[in-house]
């Protein structure tokens, strides 16, 4: 048994890794991202300051890195030149109509689109440090002055080093010291930019005086050994950074409120769990007796009526019922007995514990109904077939033959064995404790995980979405394991050895 559990737990690790990889890829490859959500039409990046804070935003959430594999150590000079050329073409004046095309102007039909400019700027910016040697080379030797100027301007940004663990709320003294040094250097590098209207000599001067000495002094930063390349290839990526944090249970911070996602999830978990726990409890309390009852009245009119009623409930979409219940019982058409949403009254702080519980019960009654009734059909069906399977078994006949009371036969012999399948189902219900029901939380405005996920999707809050999805995955894995183990625990005929 122990080896079996150990094997299963070990197998869970690669499964979890693959699932996290797939979810991560889906999120990151899907159109739109948090950077775009924060900056929908590029207007945020017009001013220098806004551009800088946008860059730091990308750095904070690793959005400047490639998603899965990083080949930027092998950038060629053309990779860097191409986007710079786009930006330069955009900044040049358009050639007058009929006038000869000179190097100082862009032909009207070659002028790049604004979407291309934004993309080109992003591209060089995301290259970060990896573009520095090429930018130096471009600034030195390119035949177009405006590209040389742009290269120097870009250097002032790209040469900056990211601070280590910058968003740590309480860094160690060493870390603070080294980060301070990096920040000082970055400030200096930023000041080595040049204005838009420059002569070739200006570019030469700033290169000779500032950039070349700095570059030569720090040249080892931009030379990558084979080991460095492997490290960059696999680990300087969004996914690797994410997993690095995940190993320390750090789910990152939300792009919306900059609070750690894990804290928010933990804060929202009780709401969802309360709802799901009571929903599962009630579902079992109703459906097990119902299943037993209908197994005993098999193929009678009563059994059929119950089956059809449960079937109707099963086919009723819960969001429809929820909306109807709110209309009938909450917003005064015709009754307003229950609140239309929320988990607890607003003034709950000054209530006694009992009052608080009453308030919660009053609030969650309608959501509970909607969440529960759908599972009744399936559960009571399981209970019914479970009992029908054992009721014709020999040991039941033996129990009857030795003169046991019918209630004894049913409760002690039949039910105990017949309920094994439905008990082991509990394990698989574990994930619903977390995922609960997005729809129900959405309709009744209960601040649980489902609603949080729903809101995060609209904000492209990757870290929050990942946390919710991964949480649900882990619970599914654990639930499946528990359900297998519980099989062996309740039914001595099953062993895993």
């Amino acid at each position: 048994m122990f080896t079996y559990i150990l094997k299963r737990v070990l197998l869970m690790i690669p499964t979890f890794a693959i699932i996290s990889l797939i979810i991560f890829l889906v999120l990151n490859l899907a159109p739109g991202d948090p950077a775009a959500a924060a900056n929908p039409d590029g207007t945020e990046t017009v001013s220098q300051d806004a551009r800088e804070s946008y860059r730091i935003f990308k750095e904070q959430f690793n959005l400047d890195k490639p998603i899965l594999l990083n080949t930027r150590y092998g950038l060629t000079i053309e990779d860097v030149e191409e986007p710079l050329r786009v930006v330069a073409d955009f900044q040049r004046p358009v050639c007058a109509e009929g006038a000869p095309v000179t190097p100082e102007c862009t032909p009207a039909d070659e002028r790049p689109m604004s979407a291309d400019i934004i993309a080109a700027q992003e591209e060089v910016e995301n290259y970060g440090n990896y573009a520095v040697p090429h930018l130096i080379a471009l600034a030195q030797n390119h035949e177009r002055l405006d590209i040389r100027r742009l290269a120097v301007q870009r250097l002032a940004i790209n040469a900056q080093r990211p601070q280590v663990d910058r968003f740590n709320p309480d860094p160690s003294d060493e870390l603070r010291e080294s980060n301070r040094a990096i920040a000082a250097e970055n400030n200096q590098l930023r000041s080595w930019s040049i204005p838009q209207d420059v002569t070739p000599e200006d570019v030469d001067t700033i290169l000779e005086e500032k950039w070349l000495p700095w570059f030569n002094a720090n040249i080892e930063r931009f030379e990558y050994s084979a080991a460095d390349k492997v490290g960059i290839f696999f680990f300087d990526t969004r996914f690797a950074k994410y997993w690095e944090n995940l190993l320390t249970l750090n789910f990152g911070v939300s792009t919306v409120d900059r609070r750690p996602v894990f804290d928010t999830v933990m804060q929202k978990l009780p709401y969802t769990m309360t709802l799901s726990f009571f929903s599962i409890l009630i579902a079992y309390l109703i459906s097990v007796p119902l299943g037993i009852w209908s197994a005993y009245n098999q193929n009678t009119k009563r059994d059929q009526v119950v089956t059809i009623a449960l079937f109707v409930l099963y086919s009723l979409p819960s969001f429809f019922t929820a909306v109807l219940l709110i209309q009938f019982f909450a917003v005064g058409r015709p009754f307003s007995w229950f609140p239309a949403g929320g988990f607890i009254s607003n003034n709950s702080e000054n209530m006694a514990v009992l009052e608080q519980m009453g308030s919660i019960a009053w609030h969650i009654l309608l959501p509970l109904i909607c969440l529960t009734y759908g599972s009744l059909a399936a559960l009571s069906r399981y209970a019914r077939t479970g009992l029908l399977d054992v009721i014709r078994a020999d040991y039941i006949r033996t129990a009857r033959a030795k003169g046991l009371a019918e209630s004894m036969v049913v409760l002690k012999h039949a039910v105990r064995n017949g309920m094994i399948p439905i008990l082991t189902l509990l394990g698989t219900l574990l994930p619903t404790l977390v995922s609960g029901s997005i729809v129900i939380e959405f309709i009744f405005n209960i601040p649980g995980i489902g609603l949080y996920l729903y809101e995060s999707i609209y904000m492209y809050d990757y870290n929050a979405i990942m946390a919710c999805l991964l949480m649900s995955t882990v619970l599914t894995l654990i639930g499946l394991l528990l359900s297998d183990i519980s099989y062996a625990l309740v039914d001595p005929r099953i062993t895993f050895d």
């Binding site: 499964t15 693959i18 699932i19 797939i22 979810i23 889906v26 999120l27 899907a30 159109p31 739109g32 079937f311 109707v312 099963y314 086919s315 009723l316 979409p317 969001f319 429809f320 909306v323 109807l324 209309q327 917003v331 058409r333 994930p431 995922s435 997005i438 729809v439 959405f442 309709i443 996920l453 729903y454 999707i457 609209y458 492209y460 979405i465 919710c468 999805l469 649900s472 995955t473 599914t476 894995l477 499946l480």
Partner: protein, 416 residues
């Protein structure tokens, strides 16, 4: 086998095929049997939606020198027929497809009846064989015809037919309900039910009854296509795993395990939320790509059961190719639980689409039932909530009932 041998051997007794046995059993489940007609009725409603509701007249006559459209003056035309295939008017391929079926299905039915006129003396087996062949050929021709029509991308300039109605001397005959499912009318916003709008109008003044009718198309299409996608994936993967076993089986089993631990509804919601303006094709694809695990497991199980049976072993011993064994011998015997599961799957897919639309991440602009429900919730209009909710409920119930009946009919233990 030579001809003389065939003629000399005694005539083969008329065995019931497996399908006939199941159908015979299925008929005994009354509710399920009637549900088949219910679903057929839904399908017919989806097909004839433009006959019931469209804002284009069947017949139009404009006298000389009247009205704003000079090209229409003094003409008699039948704009409804052209509008059916107009890709400006119906911007979704689904609508064009159903409009095409509106003509094609009656034509094929007539064709079948005529064919049977000439061949009266067919045995039951021969008739069902001929029917299968007819369905095959007819659907192939239909697909080709539809592709041609769709790829022609026919469209015509927009005409405001409702404004021509009041012109002097103009004669226009409209369908029963003179609204289209997407024309916004800001003069009639959030109305209650009336004789003009049977179920009222939504926030943008669109006629809800019309949207409800056209919503049938969306729901049925999403259900059927999404389930077809994942059934295909599940069939292929399940047969591979079950037939080859060993390493292939291991890999596919791992894939199934991984997919089963996936928070699928979360994932669907996330994907749908991320796509800008998701169309119903996106939704179908997402459901189709995430839902295949159940089918794959079923088929794998069936293959494992069948692989060691005598007829398969005989086929292997005869040296048939693997493809032939899989497709001709094993698969036909393994698909019956798939049918049951697929029927429930259609209901499930319709429910997922309705949920997505309800949450506001469903197909944009499509007249989806979930979208009607959510707009009714926002404006507190009971007619919207009740009508769309019941439409979803009835469709799902009918499909689930068929599924239940099929499940019991295919289960030999429950044979009546």
């Amino acid at each position: 086998m030579t001809d003389s041998q065939t003629s000399s051997s005694p005539p083969r007794p008329e065995y019931k095929t497996y399908g006939q046995i199941v159908w015979g059993q299925f008929k005994k489940y009354r509710l399920s049997y009637y549900s088949v007609y219910g679903v057929l009725a839904l399908f017919v409603i989806a097909m004839v939606a433009p006959v019931l509701a469209m804002n284009v007249p069947f017949y139009m006559h404009i006298p000389e020198g009247v009205g704003p459209y000079t090209q229409l003056q003094g003409t008699t035309s039948f704009p409804w027929f052209a509008a059916l295939f107009d890709q400006n008017f119906f911007d979704s391929g689904v609508d064009i497809f159903f409009n095409f079926l509106l003509f094609y299905v009656p034509v094929s039915l007539v064709g079948w009846t005529l064919m049977m006129r000439f061949k009266k003396d067919l045995t039951d087996t021969a008739r069902s064989k001929a029917r299968l062949r007819f369905i095959g050929i007819a659907s192939l021709v239909g697909i080709v015809l539809f592709s041609v029509i769709y790829l022609m991308a026919f469209s015509q300039p927009y005409v405001d037919y409702a404004s021509l109605k009041e012109l002097e001397g103009a004669r226009l005959i409209f369908p029963l309900i003179e609204y289209s499912y997407r024309d916004v009318d800001l003069m009639a916003v959030s109305q209650g039910p009336s004789l003009e709008h049977f179920l009222g109008t939504d926030r943008q003044g669109r006629d809800v009854f019309t949207r409800l009718i056209y919503g049938t198309r969306i729901s049925l299409t999403i259900g059927v296509v999404a389930v077809s996608i994942y059934t295909a994936i599940g069939l292929v993967l399940g047969s591979l795993a079950g037939f080859f076993g060993g390493r292939v089986d291991n890999i596919i089993l791992r894939m199934i395990e991984i997919m089963m631990c996936f928070p699928v509804l979360f994932l669907i919601l996330t994907l749908a939320g991320f796509i800008e303006e998701p169309s119903i094709f996106h939704i179908m694809l997402i459901i189709g790509l995430t839902g295949w695990t159940g089918i794959a497991r079923l088929v794998r199980g069936e293959f494992l059961r069948l692989r060691n049976q005598d007829f398969v072993q005989a086929a292997i011993a005869l040296g048939f190719t693997r493809a032939r064994i899989i497709f001709r011998h094993v698969l036909p015997n393994a698909v019956q639980p798939v049918f049951v599961s697929a029927t429930f799957g259609v209901a499930g897919a319709i429910l997922i689409e309705a949920t997505l639309s309800f949450l506001g991440v469903g197909p944009a602009n499509a007249p989806s039932w979930g979208q009607i429900l959510t707009s009714g919730r926002n404006t507190q209009q009971m007619t919207l909530i009740l009508s769309s909710g019941f439409a979803i409920f009835v469709t799902i119930s009918l499909l689930n009932l068929i599924g239940e009946g099929l499940r019991d009919a295919t289960d030999p233990k429950l044979r009546k």
